[in-house]
Subunit: 461 residues, 2 copies
């Protein structure tokens, strides 16, 4: 039995680890396009901020750790073609020399690629010009080299999603002045603007020059550096800087599986079922390249590292004949931006409406712990529930670092997983001690606010 | 309609607030034994530590806040007798003058009283002798007066539960040397010794003199102060100090309801159903004086402020004709001891076995966030699950302050509420960003350790 996994990131490595864990007799080969298997891509911004050093510590496991599990790593090896009928994988090594790897079961975890969002100039400009993306260790080294070589004092970050915000913090910490350009009306478009505006204020307080409602049209090299041509409220604007970082999201990297006959679905990602089967015999797929089963939405595309780990683990088990099933995402996400933490899980109002729910969203705020104990700080909440069924549909939270906001969202995530109603969150038996909570925890204060708005209480029962 | 609530603490005030919230036309009177309604008894240790000042800020709501809701407060008024047939409550005021309050519906929230645990001398010694309990604002003032008047440099705390540990920290912060005596084999007997020993180490690191396995027999006033006679490993020992604080738990305060004909159940607390009905016509009860419906154990006695708030709220709604039902406790508790946080929810191994489950408990540790990001610290876990059904039965966690341990226990509490299996906790979509978590959160690392121990993976599937 020879199991081959393609991809050295979360899905591929998780699959290989799970297979070796379940059956140490199975031969496992992981085909990795670069020389950096099992690196924490989510950690790259913290290398640039200086929190992480050396860069090698970004590895979840070292090369030696991985080989100690008994898996074989084929580094600097690009998978080029799947021969489904004969179960052979075509690859080329770093020198361009092609070869073939026979497999019994194949797991594809080729992930995603940075988007360019139709911005003119990005196809021709690269690290040598001071224009960067940030999706691999190769990108990391290129950016790092550029920062060391040119010591730019100004940077434009196109995009204000998770990586964009983390990189704004990272550049800022190095003394680089950051201009952040965001197409949407507010930074962090995964949250409602009422809460993401708090994140924007945190950026501004740290000297980031934030421009929302700004659609970037082109990036151009000029005599003095780089010019970013954009449109803001119908006006043409030009921002200039010595360096440009483009972090406007990702698209699934599906070429290999498409060639093998896989179908594309939501977000033009490869269709898989909950067992991570592609429908192609002996070929599983997992991670940022495939669709996501979502407990509230059904099938969608929502690339997240946590999901890739889970899907990879399931693919690894099922490739050995198991029957593990991906339990589904609820879209839980969190980001730290300077001293602010923003989290969400489940659906926002418009997402829930589009999915056929009858959503109502109620905003509230509650202290992270009893006000009489020093250091209490408010957490802002937006709770979305179905006003017909009472079912919890989603929660958004923004609080200061130290308010346990990141793990408070997990209470809602768990409630969503279990299909609880908003009222049932108020019934939960949550922990309380005055320095760390309240008798009704802040998360319950928020659900009670929702319930009051749904059924005004002034009516006599 | 006249609703009368007895008790100025969590249950009584929650009931009154809920009734006024639901129907502002209903007359609500709260009979409060002292002059301090709606004080946070859980916060008292932080008054002594100096974190909270003045003592008035311990009030969840001020007297004016409460009256603004439209409820009437009868302070310094002791309820002495319930005349069930005529629906009249006998009370005496601070001068000893008796009177009668007519009610349509009555909610009894008389709470609990400090235990003396059979220690000889406690019936005769009190604050004037330097011997204290700590269960009311009156106790707080007595202790505070004593500390100011005598400035003791040494104290013995009998008991090492939540209040005992918090008071050890409080006294220690004031420069008082603390000797802590605990009957059980380890401090914080609500956790397994493997984890509570971490709490003990934290106490010792802060100069607390901890003596476990020490059964106190008597407290005696001596020429030089106070002597505590105890037995440790079969030997008689005497500890001396200028002040003694006895915090060895509580017993339900049931006299009033017993006289009215209520039945006593678990822990000799008043029997109530999930609607907080006592069985006595028009008499509800809630809080530390009544039994607790527990989602895993059935009916037990587990006095907690969080539960009292929930039960009071339900009693207040049902007294107005509602049909709210207490969803049940899962026994979630947390305490901060210096810089350590210890939490639990659900059942420990022996509790689960006694309740008819087939428990297995597995210990593990995982970092609160990715190790490459500064400040990662391990959290210790003990997960209890049913090895036949796979159901999650309980979780215990100990971590440093700042590791979000208090809100991580809530994920398990929510999973317990929903009846999830241990494996399903591993399936949860929990939040991740490198400074605050891991792709598999620490709580999932712990459940995966349990699953591995249950079904050793070396077997080929």
């Amino acid at each position: 039995m020879h199991l081959v996994a393609i991809g050295g990131s979360d899905a591929g490595i998780s699959a290989a680890l799970r297979a070796r864990e379940l059956d140490p007799t199975v031969d496992v080969t992981v085909v990795v396009a670069d020389a950096y298997p099992n690196y924490s891509i989510c950690g790259i911004p913290y290398y640039f901020s200086g929190d992480v050093h050396p860069w090698q510590s970004l590895a979840h496991r070292t090369h030696a750790d991985l080989e100690a599990t008994g898996m074989q790593l084929r580094l600097d090896t690009l998978a080029t073609e799947i021969d489904v009928a004969s179960r052979r994988l075509g690859v080329v090594d770093a020198t361009g020399r092609p070869s073939v790897i026979r497999y019994d079961e194949l797991i594809v975890g080729t992930g995603a690629l940075p988007q360019h969002a139709g911005i003119v100039g990005l196809d021709d400009l690269g690290p040598a010009d001071g224009v960067h993306v940030l999706h691999s260790m190769g990108d990391t080294f290129a950016l790092d080299d550029d920062l060391i070589r040119r010591e730019p004092r100004t940077a434009i970050i196109i995009g204000a999603g998770y990586v964009g915000l983390e990189m704004a913090e990272g550049f800022s910490g190095r003394g680089i002045h950051v201009t952040q350009l965001q197409r949407g009306p507010e930074v962090l478009s995964t949250l409602d603007p009422e809460l993401s505006s708090i994140v924007r204020a945190e950026l501004v307080a740290h000297g980031i020059d934030v421009h929302t409602g700004t659609t970037v049209r082109a990036v151009e090299k000029t005599a003095g550096g780089l010019a970013v041509h954009a449109e803001q409220e119908g006006r043409a604007v030009i921002h200039s800087a010595e360096l440009v970082l483009v972090v406007v999201g990702v698209r699934p990297n599906t070429a290999l599986l498409e060639q093998a006959g896989a179908a594309l679905g939501a977000g033009r990602a490869v269709v898989v079922d909950e067992w991570m089967r592609t429908g192609i015999p002996h070929v599983f797929a997992a991670g940022d390249g495939v669709v996501t089963h979502h407990r509230l939405l059904g099938v969608t595309y929502l690339p997240l590292g946590t999901t890739a780990h889970k899907q990879g683990r399931i693919a690894g088990e099922n490739a050995l004949g198991g029957s593990a099933r991906f339990a589904g995402s609820v879209g839980t996400q969190v980001v730290k931006v300077f001293d602010t933490v923003a989290a969400r899980t489940g659906l926002r109002d418009h997402e829930a409406a589009a999915a056929g729910f009858a959503p109502r969203t109620v905003e509230s705020a509650a202290d992270d712990h009893k006000r009489y104990y020093p250091g209490a700080q408010p957490i802002g909440f937006r709770i979305t529930g179905d006003h017909q069924t009472g079912r919890l549909l989603g929660a958004q939270l923004v609080g200061r670092l130290g308010t346990e906001t990141a793990k408070r969202v997990d209470t809602y995530a768990t409630a969503l997983f279990a299909g609880l109603t908003v009222d049932q969150v108020s019934d939960l038996d949550l922990s309380y001690t005055p320095p760390l909570g309240s008798p009704w925890d802040a998360v319950q204060n928020a659900t009670q606010a929702w319930s009051r708005a749904r059924s005004p209480l002034t009516v006599t029962i």
